[in-house]
């Protein structure tokens, strides 16, 4: 990339930028094996794609529809862009058997008074909780939160405090978040006026 005049952005090393003759820019976003190319002019994008496919074996998926599990939809006439993770959330709910759970309207309800006092104390409780996939559930939630769900931020920060010693109450809270997700699978972030 450097050889053909691109510069790695110092603020985010996954972004490569090159300024073009007409004072616009072409951007290349790279994340492991996913790539996004953006430019004002379609010809520039096509040119870069051709150049890259000479060097690497790659697949052109056309218009960006999915990136790192995030679905991208756009409407050019109304200048809007939607970001969502519907299929990811569906997959996670399915994995934890929550696909048919009853939806709730908030990510964390007031009756959950989570504290470290609820961590398992007796051996029986510890054995009981050992079967619960707490860490992986929180991990899945965290990915959704980081990508497209700012509404989960508080709930996820609360449940992830007890990652090392989760208790029954904490697991109930995680299940509550799944139920919230059940009701809001279709939520997207909307950019544009």
């Amino acid at each position: 990339m450097i050889q053909i005049g691109y510069k790695s952005c110092e603020y985010d090393c996954c972004v490569y930028v090159k300024s073009l003759d007409d004072s616009s820019f072409i951007f290349l976003l790279l994340y492991v094996d996913d790539m996004l190319i953006a430019a004002k002019n379609l010809d520039d994008v096509v040119g870069l794609k051709a150049l890259l496919s000479q060097e690497f074996d790659m697949k052109d998926l056309g218009d960006a529809k999915k990136f790192l599990g995030m679905e991208i939809r756009r409407n050019r006439s109304s200048k809007k862009l939607w970001l969502s993770q519907q299929s990811y959330v569906e997959k996670v709910l399915d994995r934890f058997g929550m696909s048919n759970a009853k939806p709730v309207s908030t990510p964390l309800a007031n009756h959950f008074k989570l504290s470290s006092n609820q961590c398992p104390k007796t051996d029986k409780e510890v054995v009981d909780m050992a079967e619960v996939p707490y860490a992986s559930a929180v991990g899945y939630l965290m990915y959704a939160m980081v990508c497209t769900r700012p509404d989960l931020a508080y709930a996820v920060s609360q449940v992830s405090k007890y990652m090392s010693k989760p208790g029954r109450q904490h697991w109930e809270a995680v299940k509550w978040i799944f139920r919230y997700l059940r009701g809001t699978v279709g939520h997207d972030i909307v950019f544009g006026n």
Binding site: F25, A153, S157, F191
Partner: protein, 142 residues
Amino acid sequence: MDNRRSTTEYVFTISGGPVCWKSTIQSIIALSTTEAEYMAVVETAKEALWLIGLVNKLSVQQGGVQLHCDNQSATYLAKNHIYYARTKHIDVRFHKIRELIASGEIVLQKIGTEENAADMVTKPVTTDKFKHYLNLLNVYSC
């Protein structure tokens, strides 16, 4: 509740949609609400600095970042360089925000709690409020 620490949280939006958000327990214990809010403002300003750099690199032109805070005394503290008995203990590094405001990179404004979408990420809120905040952030099903 376990250790008496407050929660910092912020949401940045570009053209209506949220692009960057965080909710985290503060690393030190605040002695007053003002101090907790003040630390949150500074934490947010740090993230804003990075975002300003990134956005400029992507050649998007915009003026100073507007930072909204729902705490009156924290906004005054950031703008007014006065020492009061109750705030003199606040660590000097948190006063970085004053420099940023003076240079115009960040514009700090007080807004009402009901307009502060970041409120929903510090505590459990009621359903109606929660939906209102989500609308503010342009997060909804369509």
